[in-house]
């Protein structure tokens, strides 16, 4: 205990003592001399006891001389003496020191004041212990509260997770995936169909028998019969790139209409193979 607490305890104790001090009888005068008769009686009793002791001593000496020095076993010795002592205690009756009341009074007074002092010590000790226990109880309660809060938060979290787990069972996850896949497929189909529509509209295949073709017949040596549309060219390129990414080059042949190829090359949608001008591939856009 630090000095402040000690001082506080001492003050509290003194306050308590001052409270009951008023009801205590006054302190007895110290060491009132017993009368002569009492002293003489005590001395007589002491003499009697001394004589008794002398008698016992003689008896002991006699028995010592009598009994042969048989060194009994240590434990046997012990057992014998303990049983003898036990018998002695059982037989002896409690008796007063002396019958004289004065003697008894002074002896009692002394003992009571001693007892008083001891009990006061015990009281302060118990009080200190009790205060300490109270503090411990308080701190333990606080600890318990904190732990309970933690427990509550944890159980709530567990409950939330469990609900979520139930919601997302396996089948629902599968269904979700399927839905997503279908959506993507639809989107892709949509895009492709839009692309083909646009290409159909804006990049049609060169028609046969257009006006002015007869004049430039000699500039069209390629067979116009099996020209593939731009849509087909793009499809070829895309498939080659996606399916065999290590070999994205498509070999061109006469069915590829050169103007469209030039357009693709110029806009950077496709590029030639660096060594071989016949091969062409889709430019990487990713």
């Amino acid at each position: 205990m630090d000095p402040d607490e000690l001082l506080k305890n001492a003050k509290a104790l003194s306050k308590q003592m001052s409270e009951y001090q008023g009801i205590l009888p006054p302190d007895p005068p110290v060491s009132k001399q017993c009368s002569e008769a009492a002293w003489e009686e005590l001395l007589v009793e002491c003499d009697e006891q001394f004589n008794y002791m002398q008698q016992l001593q003689n008896d002991i000496a006699v028995t010592d001389a009598d009994s042969s020095e048989n060194q009994l076993n240590e434990t046997e010795n012990r057992i014998n003496t303990l049983t003898a002592e036990l018998k002695q205690w059982e037989e002896s009756e409690p008796r007063l020191l002396s019958v004289n009341p004065e003697v008894l009074l002074s002896v009692g007074r002394e003992e009571l004041s001693q007892l008083n002092a001891q009990l006061e010590m015990v009281l302060s000790c118990c009080q200190a212990k009790r205060d300490k226990l109270r503090e411990i109880l308080k701190s333990e309660r606080k600890w318990l509260e904190e732990k309970e809060e933690v427990l509550r938060a944890a159980t709530e979290q567990v409950k939330a997770l469990q609900e979520e787990n139930e919601r997302l069972s396996e089948t629902s996850v599968l269904l979700d995936m399927k839905k997503k896949l279908k959506k993507m497929k639809d989107f892709q189909d949509n895009l492709l169909s839009t692309l083909s529509d646009i290409l159909q509209e804006h990049f049609p295949l060169p028609q046969e028998g257009e006006n002015g073709n007869k004049r430039k017949k000699k500039f069209r040596p390629e067979p116009r019969g099996d020209l593939i549309s731009l849509h087909d060219i793009l499809e070829l390129l895309m498939n080659k790139t996606v399916e065999t990414p290590h070999e994205p080059y498509v070999v061109m042949n006469e069915s590829f209409w050169p103007p469209y190829i030039e357009m693709l090359l110029r806009y950077g949608i496709a590029s030639r193979h660096p060594d071989d001008s016949v091969k062409i591939r889709l430019e990487s856009f990713y």
């Binding site: 002791m53 002398q54 001593q57 002991i60 010592d64 240590e74 012990r78 002592e85």
Partner: protein
């Protein structure tokens, strides 16, 4: 060369006599001083010896010895051996509550364990209390003196309702359980 007997002489009024037996003679004097200083109500005489049996010259002048304290220093093997030899010379009547062992140096790590174990077994077989003391500091010596004084008061019969035999039964040294499970007493 005489052996002392516990009840061969009359006790003196309000006196208690203690015999400190120590082979080296180091702790005896300090402990004796501390004992004499601490006790106010009773006349305590402290007698010092290096070993038993006691010399025969002082036989008549010697008062009745109420308590024999064997001081053992665990740091030297000789201490334990001489204590064992002295024990053989002591009258068996003393072992019923009038013998006490005081051990110093039990905290030292250099001491082999067997000494302490054998000492404990010895004290346990004799049913005597075993006190541990710290002899290097003044407080250690005065604490040891206090404890010896308490036991002395009881064995001199100055405490009502308690005899030396009774106290020694309460405070006797018990040897801890062996590792193989047999109980030592």
């Amino acid at each position: 060369m005489s052996s002392i007997k516990p009840f061969s002489k009359l006790p003196q009024l309000n006196t208690a006599n203690v015999l400190l037996v120590e082979n080296e003679g180091k702790l005896q004097n300090d402990l004796a001083d501390a004992i004499v200083q601490q006790e106010n109500n009773v006349n305590v005489t402290v007698r010092l010896a290096r070993g038993l049996p006691l010399p025969a010259e002082n036989e008549e002048n010697r008062p009745r010895i109420d308590l024999v304290v064997f001081i053992v220093h665990l740091s030297s093997e000789l201490s334990l051996v001489s204590t064992e030899n002295s024990l053989k010379q002591l009258d068996t009547g003393y072992f019923l509550g009038k013998v006490c062992f005081l051990v110093t140096g039990a905290r030292c790590g250099l001491v082999p364990d067997e000494r302490l174990v054998s000492l404990r077994k010895l004290a346990g077989s004799l049913h005597c209390p075993l006190l541990f003391a710290e002899d290097q500091t003044r407080e250690g010596v005065s604490t040891a003196a206090q404890r010896v004084l308490k036991i002395l008061r009881v064995s001199a019969g100055l405490v009502p309702m308690v005899t030396g035999l009774y106290l020694s039964s309460l405070t006797r040294c018990t040897v801890p359980l062996d590792s193989d499970g047999s109980v030592q007493d």
